[in-house]
Protein backbone atom coordinates (compact mmCIF):
# COMPACT_ATOMS: atom_id res chain seq x y z
CA UNK A 1 0.00 0.00 0.00
CA UNK A 2 1.45 3.42 -0.89
CA UNK A 3 2.44 5.57 2.04
CA UNK A 4 3.79 8.97 2.91
CA UNK A 5 7.39 8.89 4.09
CA UNK A 6 9.28 11.46 6.11
CA UNK A 7 12.93 12.06 6.92
CA UNK A 8 14.59 12.34 9.30
CA UNK A 9 12.59 10.60 12.00
CA UNK A 10 14.27 12.75 14.64
CA UNK A 11 16.09 16.05 14.21
CA UNK A 12 17.92 17.85 16.99
CA UNK A 13 18.98 21.41 16.32
CA UNK A 14 20.12 24.46 18.21
CA UNK A 15 17.97 27.53 18.57
CA UNK A 16 18.45 29.90 15.66
CA UNK A 17 19.49 27.21 13.22
CA UNK A 18 17.66 26.40 10.02
CA UNK A 19 16.06 23.00 9.55
CA UNK A 20 14.53 21.30 6.56
CA UNK A 21 12.06 18.51 7.08
CA UNK A 22 11.47 16.26 4.13
CA UNK A 23 8.45 14.35 2.93
CA UNK A 24 7.69 12.13 0.01
CA UNK A 25 3.92 12.21 -0.53
CA UNK A 26 2.00 9.42 -2.18
CA UNK A 27 2.66 9.55 -5.88
CA UNK A 28 -0.22 10.94 -7.96
CA UNK A 29 -1.57 12.84 -4.96
CA UNK A 30 -2.11 16.50 -5.71
CA UNK A 31 -2.53 18.13 -2.31
CA UNK A 32 0.14 18.31 0.34
CA UNK A 33 0.03 19.41 3.96
CA UNK A 34 2.16 20.02 7.00
CA UNK A 35 0.85 19.67 10.53
CA UNK A 36 2.57 19.80 13.86
CA UNK A 37 1.84 18.26 17.24
CA UNK A 38 3.46 19.70 20.32
CA UNK A 39 3.95 17.07 23.01
CA UNK A 40 0.68 16.40 24.81
CA UNK A 41 -1.34 18.66 22.55
CA UNK A 42 -3.55 18.20 19.53
CA UNK A 43 -2.48 18.09 15.92
CA UNK A 44 -2.43 21.58 14.39
CA UNK A 45 -2.67 22.53 10.74
CA UNK A 46 0.25 24.54 9.35
CA UNK A 47 -0.08 24.77 5.59
CA UNK A 48 -1.55 23.19 2.49
CA UNK A 49 0.01 23.19 -0.95
CA UNK A 50 -1.49 22.59 -4.36
CA UNK A 51 -0.36 23.27 -7.88
CA UNK A 52 3.02 24.53 -6.67
CA UNK A 53 1.68 27.15 -4.37
CA UNK A 54 0.34 27.55 -0.87
CA UNK A 55 -3.44 27.23 -0.83
CA UNK A 56 -4.04 27.77 2.88
CA UNK A 57 -1.92 28.48 5.93
CA UNK A 58 -2.56 28.93 9.60
CA UNK A 59 -1.44 31.67 11.96
CA UNK A 60 1.38 29.39 13.10
CA UNK A 61 2.88 29.43 9.62
CA UNK A 62 4.66 32.76 9.86
CA UNK A 63 7.60 34.16 7.87
CA UNK A 64 9.97 31.72 9.53
CA UNK A 65 8.29 28.84 7.71
CA UNK A 66 8.37 27.99 4.05
CA UNK A 67 7.42 25.02 1.92
CA UNK A 68 8.73 23.81 -1.36
CA UNK A 69 8.24 21.05 -3.84
CA UNK A 70 11.71 21.01 -5.37
CA UNK A 71 11.04 18.10 -7.69
CA UNK A 72 8.27 15.72 -8.62
CA UNK A 73 8.45 13.69 -5.45
CA UNK A 74 9.66 15.69 -2.44
CA UNK A 75 7.79 18.20 -0.33
CA UNK A 76 9.81 20.12 2.24
CA UNK A 77 9.15 22.31 5.25
CA UNK A 78 11.87 24.79 6.16
CA UNK A 79 12.11 26.63 9.44
CA UNK A 80 14.61 29.45 8.99
CA UNK A 81 15.54 30.26 12.56
CA UNK A 82 14.26 27.71 14.98
CA UNK A 83 12.89 28.63 18.38
CA UNK A 84 12.48 26.45 21.44
CA UNK A 85 8.72 26.45 20.92
CA UNK A 86 9.15 24.89 17.48
CA UNK A 87 9.93 21.59 19.21
CA UNK A 88 7.17 19.24 18.11
CA UNK A 89 6.28 16.33 15.88
CA UNK A 90 5.83 17.49 12.32
CA UNK A 91 3.56 15.47 10.09
CA UNK A 92 3.34 15.61 6.35
CA UNK A 93 0.14 14.48 4.65
CA UNK A 94 -1.10 14.16 1.11
CA UNK A 95 -4.47 13.66 -0.50
CA UNK A 96 -6.32 13.68 -3.73
CA UNK A 97 -6.24 11.79 -6.86
CA UNK A 98 -7.25 13.76 -9.89
CA UNK A 99 -10.47 15.50 -9.01
CA UNK A 100 -9.66 15.78 -5.36
CA UNK A 101 -10.35 13.81 -2.25
CA UNK A 102 -10.55 14.96 1.32
CA UNK A 103 -8.94 11.87 2.79
CA UNK A 104 -5.50 12.84 3.98
CA UNK A 105 -2.79 10.24 4.42
CA UNK A 106 -0.24 11.06 7.08
CA UNK A 107 3.42 10.21 7.28
CA UNK A 108 5.07 8.87 10.45
CA UNK A 109 6.32 12.29 11.45
CA UNK A 110 9.62 13.98 12.22
CA UNK A 111 10.33 14.77 15.82
CA UNK A 112 12.05 18.16 15.98
CA UNK A 113 13.89 19.02 19.17
CA UNK A 114 15.24 22.55 19.48
CA UNK A 115 17.77 23.06 22.25
Amino acid sequence: EPEVTQTPSHQVTQMGQEVILRCVPISNHLYFYWYRQILGQKVEFLVSFYNNEISEKSEIFDDQFSVERPDGSNFTLKIRSTKLEDSAMYFCASSGLAGGSYEQYFGPGTRLTVT
Binding site: Y31, Y33, L39, K42, V43, F45, Y50, F91, P108
Partner: protein, 111 residues
Amino acid sequence: GENVGLHLPTLSVQEGDNSIINCAYSNSASDYFIWYKQESGKGPQFIIDIRSNMDKRQGQRVTVLLNKTVKHLSLQIAATQPGDSAVYFCAENMGYSTLTFGKGTMLLVSP
Protein backbone atom coordinates in the same frame (compact mmCIF):
# COMPACT_ATOMS: atom_id res chain seq x y z
CA GLY B 1 3.40 11.28 17.49
CA GLU B 2 3.52 11.34 21.20
CA ASN B 3 0.62 12.10 23.45
CA VAL B 4 0.92 12.44 27.16
CA GLY B 5 -1.77 10.18 28.56
CA LEU B 6 -2.22 12.33 31.65
CA HIS B 7 -3.63 15.11 29.50
CA LEU B 8 -6.02 12.94 27.50
CA PRO B 9 -9.34 11.43 28.48
CA THR B 10 -8.89 7.68 28.61
CA LEU B 11 -11.32 4.90 27.87
CA SER B 12 -10.38 1.48 29.23
CA VAL B 13 -12.23 -1.56 27.93
CA GLN B 14 -11.89 -5.31 27.87
CA GLU B 15 -11.16 -7.16 24.67
CA GLY B 16 -14.42 -8.00 22.95
CA ASP B 17 -16.34 -5.06 24.40
CA ASN B 18 -17.81 -2.37 22.21
CA SER B 19 -16.17 1.04 22.58
CA ILE B 20 -17.70 4.45 22.09
CA ILE B 21 -15.46 7.48 21.75
CA ASN B 22 -17.05 10.91 21.71
CA CYS B 23 -16.05 14.23 20.25
CA ALA B 24 -17.56 17.69 20.31
CA TYR B 25 -16.70 19.79 17.29
CA SER B 26 -16.56 23.52 17.17
CA ASN B 27 -17.93 24.89 13.93
CA SER B 28 -21.50 24.39 12.78
CA ALA B 29 -20.36 25.21 9.24
CA SER B 30 -18.06 22.19 9.07
CA ASP B 31 -19.16 19.81 6.37
CA TYR B 32 -16.78 16.90 6.67
CA PHE B 33 -15.62 14.92 9.67
CA ILE B 34 -12.98 12.27 10.07
CA TRP B 35 -11.83 9.92 12.77
CA TYR B 36 -8.12 9.21 12.98
CA LYS B 37 -6.23 6.64 15.02
CA GLN B 38 -2.74 7.43 16.23
CA GLU B 39 -0.53 4.72 17.62
CA SER B 40 2.54 5.58 19.61
CA GLY B 41 5.34 6.82 17.37
CA LYS B 42 3.19 6.96 14.26
CA GLY B 43 1.22 9.52 12.32
CA PRO B 44 -2.57 9.74 12.34
CA GLN B 45 -4.23 6.95 10.39
CA PHE B 46 -7.59 7.47 8.69
CA ILE B 47 -10.38 5.31 10.08
CA ILE B 48 -13.67 6.59 8.75
CA ASP B 49 -15.25 9.80 7.55
CA ILE B 50 -18.73 11.28 7.28
CA ARG B 51 -20.19 14.24 5.49
CA SER B 52 -22.63 16.64 7.08
CA ASN B 53 -25.55 15.43 4.98
CA MET B 54 -25.37 12.07 6.76
CA ASP B 55 -25.93 11.10 10.38
CA LYS B 56 -24.45 7.62 10.33
CA ARG B 57 -21.82 5.75 8.39
CA GLN B 58 -20.55 2.24 8.90
CA GLY B 59 -17.24 0.69 8.10
CA GLN B 60 -15.59 -2.53 9.08
CA ARG B 61 -16.17 -2.83 12.85
CA VAL B 62 -16.54 0.94 13.10
CA THR B 63 -19.52 3.25 12.97
CA VAL B 64 -19.50 7.02 13.04
CA LEU B 65 -22.53 8.95 14.23
CA LEU B 66 -23.00 12.65 13.62
CA ASN B 67 -25.42 14.83 15.55
CA LYS B 68 -25.33 18.27 14.00
CA THR B 69 -27.87 19.69 16.41
CA VAL B 70 -25.47 19.40 19.31
CA LYS B 71 -22.26 19.33 17.23
CA HIS B 72 -21.35 15.89 18.43
CA LEU B 73 -19.50 13.07 16.73
CA SER B 74 -18.98 9.55 18.02
CA LEU B 75 -16.95 6.56 16.96
CA GLN B 76 -18.19 3.12 17.84
CA ILE B 77 -15.77 0.21 17.63
CA ALA B 78 -17.33 -3.22 17.77
CA ALA B 79 -15.59 -6.16 19.43
CA THR B 80 -12.60 -4.07 20.46
CA GLN B 81 -9.21 -5.76 20.13
CA PRO B 82 -5.86 -5.04 21.81
CA GLY B 83 -4.63 -3.73 18.46
CA ASP B 84 -7.24 -0.99 18.70
CA SER B 85 -5.34 0.57 21.61
CA ALA B 86 -4.32 4.04 20.44
CA VAL B 87 -5.28 7.69 20.65
CA TYR B 88 -8.35 8.55 18.60
CA PHE B 89 -8.88 12.03 17.18
CA CYS B 90 -11.85 13.52 15.48
CA ALA B 91 -11.18 16.20 12.89
CA GLU B 92 -13.45 18.62 11.10
CA ASN B 93 -13.02 20.24 7.75
CA MET B 94 -14.20 23.80 7.54
CA GLY B 95 -12.76 24.78 4.22
CA TYR B 96 -10.88 23.64 1.23
CA SER B 97 -8.11 21.77 2.97
CA THR B 98 -7.80 22.68 6.62
CA LEU B 99 -8.43 19.94 9.13
CA THR B 100 -9.04 21.00 12.72
CA PHE B 101 -8.30 18.24 15.18
CA GLY B 102 -9.81 17.59 18.57
CA LYS B 103 -7.73 16.79 21.64
CA GLY B 104 -8.00 13.05 21.38
CA THR B 105 -9.07 10.13 23.54
CA MET B 106 -6.78 7.33 24.54
CA LEU B 107 -8.33 3.88 24.16
CA LEU B 108 -6.77 1.12 26.25
CA VAL B 109 -7.89 -2.42 25.48
CA SER B 110 -7.06 -5.13 27.98
CA PRO B 111 -6.83 -8.74 26.80
